[in-house]
């Protein structure tokens, strides 16, 4: 028992130090927008909470111990079983779920909704226990692009594909496309065209936190390689932006592409500053964490303004693109200065 309690104690210290999952809640634009605009939507907010907060937090604490180390320790099978049963209780969410289960029975939360939240938690827990690796075969199929920055852009695309932001945006985009297809099948159903603008904005919004932390998934090795490459700062940023724009345009093309392009340019123009001056390390398979809530609010409001203006006057996309290009040039210089320090 002494061995098990020593391991659990070390695990709880390691777990307390890992606050990135909580930060991913605070700095994610999609969550912020959801709180602002959909707060009154009842159960929807719980679903978003489940997606944004519970999933990334529902990792198995035992995974913090490298498997090879765990196998080397002289533990009895009985002690392994004890660790398996006790370690989930180091995760504060296990207690939250247990507390909710007791508190919500017959109160504000229905059994069904509670089951959904618990299900997301269990799915996250079980998935994290699998020897999960990114879809390497799929990653290799990221297409080649013309130009000398091809490999950098491909790498950046793979980085975006390993954030939950992309999958959230993909679900939203596919839902909207499905809605559009259904409308063709049922021409009597009237859908205001503003709905597509709104959905497009929501798709770009789901991606936009990543624009605040463009270098977050490069790791120490990647950042030092950037400093060694004989490339101007704006070209390094352009490779990042190209990947972001490709994803944003691909997801919004069947909805309102001009609105999508304009909103993506605005998200990048505002995101360059925190990306360069306050680079924040990100974790794969979690939602991206923006630099600050204030940055997120500025990004959301600007994107919403740009989207609604482009919707009424498509030419407004031009100043959005111009603003992005100016930001690219300016923060490219800032990136060079930051690299020289």
């Amino acid at each position: 028992m002494a061995r098990v309690s020593a391991i659990l104690k070390a695990l709880s210290v390691a777990y307390r130090r890992d606050w990135t999952a909580f930060q991913s809640l605070a700095g994610n634009n999609f969550f912020l927008a959801t709180v602002f605009f959909l707060g009154k939507a009842g159960s929807f907010i719980y679903l978003i909470l489940g997606l944004v907060l519970l999933f990334p937090l529902s990792t198995d604490p035992l995974r913090k111990i490298p498997a090879s180390r765990l196998a080397l320790w002289p533990l009895e099978p009985r002690e392994h079983r004890m660790l398996r049963v006790l370690s989930p209780w180091i995760n504060p969410l296990t207690w939250v779920i247990a507390g909710l289960a007791i508190w919500t029975v017959g109160r504000t939360m229905t059994f069904g909704l509670w089951g959904l939240v618990a299900g997301i938690f269990a799915a996250g827990f079980l998935l994290s226990d699998l020897p999960f690796a990114p879809a390497q075969g799929l990653w290799r199929r990221v297409p080649n692009l013309p130009g000398p920055l091809n490999q950098l852009v491909r790498k950046n695309l793979r980085e975006i594909l390993s954030t939950l932001d992309f999958y959230c945006a993909l679900i939203l985009s596919l839902s909207a496309i499905g809605f559009r297809v259904a409308r063709v099948a049922m021409p009597t159903v009237a859908i205001p065209t503003e709905a597509y603008m709104g959905m497009t904005l929501l798709v770009v919004l789901a991606l936009s936190s990543y624009a605040q932390c463009l270098f977050g998934l490069d790791g120490e090795g990647g950042l030092s390689r950037y400093r060694l490459l004989p490339l101007r700062g704006w070209r390094l940023l352009a490779a990042k932006d190209a990947a972001f724009l490709l994803v944003a345009l691909a997801l919004t093309l069947p909805l309102a592409p001009l609105v999508g392009a304009g909103a993506a340019c605005v998200a990048l123009a505002i995101g360059h500053s925190p990306s360069v001056h306050r680079p924040r390390r990100q974790t794969r398979w979690r939602f991206s964490t923006g630099a600050s809530i204030m940055n997120g609010i500025v990004q959301i409001v600007s994107m919403a303004m740009a989207a609604s203006t482009i919707f009424t006057n498509p030419l407004v996309v031009l100043p959005c693109v111009a603003g992005w290009l100016v930001s690219l040039w300016w923060y490219g210089r800032e990136l060079e200065k930051a690299q020289e320090k």
């Binding site: 690796a133 990653w139 290799r140 091809n150 990647g222 390689r225």
Partner: protein, 247 residues
Amino acid sequence: MISCRNLTRRFGDFTAVNGLTLDVPAGAICAFLGPNGAGKSTTVKMLTGLLAPTSGDVEVCGLDVTANPLEIKRRIGVLPEDLGLFDDLTVEEHLLLTGAVYGVDRKQTRARTSQLLHALSLEHGRNTFAVSCSHGMRKKTAFAMALLPNPQVLFLDEPFEAIDPVTAKIIRELLASVARRGVTVFLTSHILSMVERIATRIVMIRKGCMVWNSTVAELPQSLEDHYFDLVESPVVEELEWLGSARS
């Protein structure tokens, strides 16, 4: 080819490198030796323009490193301490990226990539993502990236660490061969036996200060003995509890 005068770098009150002055001629293989934390990597970072010196001047290929950072980057190949690899690129993609960014034409890049993958026994792992590679494979990839643009100066931070003996011999012979063709090699290493075989010049640093700078021929004794005399002597503690009855 590499020249620095009174090169100093401070981090707050701590002086990592203190008044380093040295000249490395073209075609030399200069081994920069010292214990962990002596200031070797900080010096390499300053020589390659990755870190601005607090004071002093650095010239590489006749160019001031701080005034011409881009031009310097085009002329040097670097194997950095942390290898500088992207998790999301495969071994081969790293080399293709290097060729494209350094302006090597596509055909040449493909040919050089194949040759380097073959020479460094990386062919079997060419499609492996860097994140999934062993440390040795990662090191070889970063080394191949340093060589691919055909640089005038090579800066190698611990090139022989975590490398199998066969590849270490290949790297050693590659370096000797490029040095004969005028490429300057500046390397750090803790493997003194390897350094003794390859280096033409030895520089030793201790607590940020240079304590030795000469050609290999000018060493008064074996490199290992000289290193222990000048840099640090090993103190072997007797751990009596090891091997005794278990408590």
